[in-house]
Symmetry: C2
Subunit: 185 residues, 2 copies
DNA sequence: CTCCGCATGTAAGCTGTTACATGATTCA
DNA sequence: TGAATCATGTAACAGCTTACATGCGGAG
């Protein structure tokens, strides 16, 4: 794919401008897909050319005009087609993991420090996600359909952050243990 | 970064040809970084141009010659420099998650089926990783340094697969529950 | 008066994917 | 004979990042 279909999903939920979409990608749909504003604008342009979305210029008071995009019938059909298409498992890319694997070719202490920073980052995200979960979905058992989907994706975000926190804690502990052993022979 | 540094890590462990590296990226270092052979050859060429690696043509019997690459001193320094550099948290990209979020705009049953296939895929990988873990690192508490690093990265792979398995099981269950409710009103 | 947010974009470049290509050897 | 493995690559394209650009209005 790429971004096109993520935008179609987001615009199906609610028509939006490029900047609106950028903000949405900083949260919600952004738990599992990221995009910069430049890329969003470019792709929106292409999608308009393909007739997947239609754009309306909306004047605002005290602010620049904005172009509000909505999904067209061809866009809806394209989304439907894509959703039914088989999905290949996404490749994983973690720079930190590569660094950790190569730690013995450089300054290990610096890499452990990077792991600590990453841990902090993941803890902050977890807090945010847990806050959103308790605020928006206090009774997940009662949900169905679209709301259930969105809640489950958020829960996926929570679990993924927990994975990182658990693993990074383990990593730091394992190397602290080693260091302690070396210091008390 | 990108691939350059992953190749420097892999070549630091052991000098190798393009194809050797491709095989390594299908496992071990490939748990958290993937690359196709085409890209590896191209990047190796660039790295040679930059003087980070040095290549020696090795003749073989009954097989084509191969170009064995090894890290040079400038390459080693570059790796060291990169390892000490701060790391930004890698963005996550999951096509399946986007599809799940958009499931209500298409055929939900088809998407649940894709989730089932993905679950199978992750179960297979988990089996492989667990096998490698028990084979290569039966006593993780005794490890130190480079071996410990490599073992911990593998354990990260195990945990990441478990995350996917747990979450996908939850997702499928939640929607099966919903369907059952609807069928028995 | 400076910085921040709103709102849109362009241009250059890097990274990665897909498809194609060659030629030898080994195995069923 | 056909397929797979070894071994290397080219070419075209798609996707994404980084840096730059503009202009208005509001807050401090």
């Amino acid at each position: 794919m790429a971004l096109e279909h993520a935008l179609l999903v987001s615009l199906s939920e609610q028509a939006a401008s490029g900047l609106d979409l950028t903000h949405r990608f900083d949260k919600s749909i952004g738990y599992f897909w990221t995009a910069s504003h430049q890329q969003i604008y470019r792709v929106l342009g292409r999608m308009e050319g393909d007739g997947w979305v239609h754009c309306e210029v909306v004047a605002q008071q005290g602010r620049p005009d904005k172009k509000v995009y909505a999904v067209t019938e061809p866009g809806r059909l394209e989304l439907e087609r894509w959703l039914a298409e088989p999905t290949v498992t996404d490749p994983i890319r973690s720079e930190l993991m590569v660094k950790i694997r190569g730690a013995s070719y450089g300054d290990r202490a610096a890499i452990i420090e990077q792991a600590r920073e990453s841990l902090e980052d993941h803890r902050k995200r977890l807090s945010l996600y847990e806050f959103l979960e308790s605020k928006d979905y206090p009774n997940p058992d009662l949900l169905e359909g679209r709301e259930l989907d969105i809640c489950l994706v958020l829960r996926g975000g929570v679990r993924l952050e927990r994975f990182w926190i658990d693993w990074l804690t383990d990593y730091i502990d394992a190397h602290t243990r080693t260091t302690t052993k070396e210091r008390r022979p």
